[in-house]
Amino acid sequence: MRSMIVQDLDLGGRQPVSHEFRRGCINVVLGRNRSGKTRLARVLSGLETSAPGTVVCSDGDVSGADARERRVALVYQAFVNYPNLTVAENIASPMRAQGLSNSEREQRVQDLSARLRIADLLQRFPHELSGGQQQRVAIARALAQDAGVLVMDEPLVNLDYKLREELEMELRALLADTDLTVIYNTSDPRDAFKLGDEVVLMAEHEIIQSGTPLEVYRNPHSLTAASLMSDPGVNVWSEEQSLRAVRPEHLTLDSERIGDIRFEVVLTGLETNGSETFVHCSYQDNEWVARLGGMRHFEMDSTLALAAASGDVLQFARMDAAREHA
């Protein structure tokens, strides 16, 4: 058993955190900046042991154990490698700590560098590599630890867009055939769908919901959960003492008649990338965004009729709203 369980872990939110990160899964932890993701990563990896609560992994209760004793690997957001060691020495570093023999180390370094496609860079130093390559080295070193748990704290955020997509796909394939428990922090809901077998939503240092990405997407328990899983955020309005929300992708032009609820909105801005157009508008003093297919053009400040299917409308209790704006 190599899953990782946290129980009543106090990350500084109102409620302590309890969750089981499943083995052989990529558990995507989704949350905005300062939502406690990084704190969670540091607590899981043992860099911080002061948080009250229990952390259990395959070796049993490791709550008070330092990172040295835990079999948990961590990949940082920044590309962190030992600057004065070559790529090969960097990857070999955790194996050296574990006392593996020279030939074993060499073998594993070859193996890992081939899998991460950095085999021809082994004799270089980190500063001679591009950002993507540096992160590949960091990932290889984390895997070299042969730990049961791999924590990745927004590992691809500092890469440019194309590289990120590429490395994301590779990571997915790389991690699919291991039975590692992967905990992957991100603030991008797309990562949850692309990588996640399971998604954990965090806000204000608490876990607010978890489940498969589709489950959480379809059935968010709160407005915060809904907007976390939506990019751009959900469109909110109030009706009959409750709060309603609809995702940007569920809005259509009324003239194209797909939905059964109609909204009269005032256009405030347009943003297009060729394949999609983001229509910024206001509805009942709320800022809205609708995501329409193709290139669109409308007059600024004109009134537009949008529609949504009633099945796509999310409904939340008012309580949540108070919390949202607190």
Binding site: S45, G46, A67, Y76, A78, Y82, N84, P94, A97, Q145
Partner: protein
Amino acid sequence: MAEKRVHWSVYAFGVYLLLPLYWLVNMSLQRNQDIVGEFAIVPRNPTLTNYAEIFTNPVWYEAFGNSLAYVSINTLVSLTVAIPAAYAFSRYRFLGDRQLFFWLLTNRMAPPAVFLLPFFQLYSAVGLFDTPFAVAFAHCLFTVPLSVWILEGFMSSVPREIDEMARLDGHAFGYFFFRLFLPLIKSGLGVTVFFCFMFSWVELLIARTLTASEAKPIAVVMTRTVSASGLDWGVLAAAGVLTIVPGIAVVWFVRRHLARGFALGRV
């Protein structure tokens, strides 16, 4: 490629800087009667007898040995004390850390002369007087704070994540510190050695007060070499030249990192 022309004032300044040095070397290669005789830009009867005198006369070469001894002890002690201290200041937060750190620097504000009396009395009492250790330890009062400041700057420029990564990799602290961390700040170590060495090597007041005969350093011997037969110009000049050599050697090794050292490791 267009050749860069050096302004004449640079040459003028160079000559101005090098003139006393040149004159020292010039004197060291002449006999006394030639030095006090007719003015000559280039030595008329160059000789190495002055240097021979220094290398054969125990008063001279032992003085060099004494100087090197306390300078080495000072540098060694300063590094041994300052490296862990700088690491603590760089990596840990503790009560009063800022104040303590600043207080280290304020030590440098007191003129060395202030400490002459307590050092003299204290070292006489414990029997350290007139040993290289007396001078080395006294100099530590100045070089340790300086070393802590310089090293803290260099250490703080190493990301904390490196420390954490070593923990994650499972390395013991000792392995991390000596094999991974110190090599990262080796230029800082070089600069620190330079500053300790330089302070201790040129310092005269404390060195003179805390030594009598056994541990007399070179700078002291030089200022005391006025014998009944008058000044021995040539030998003094040769000793001067030899005193400069270690400094030049140390500067040569750390020349690329010196600027950062003067900024106390903070760039």
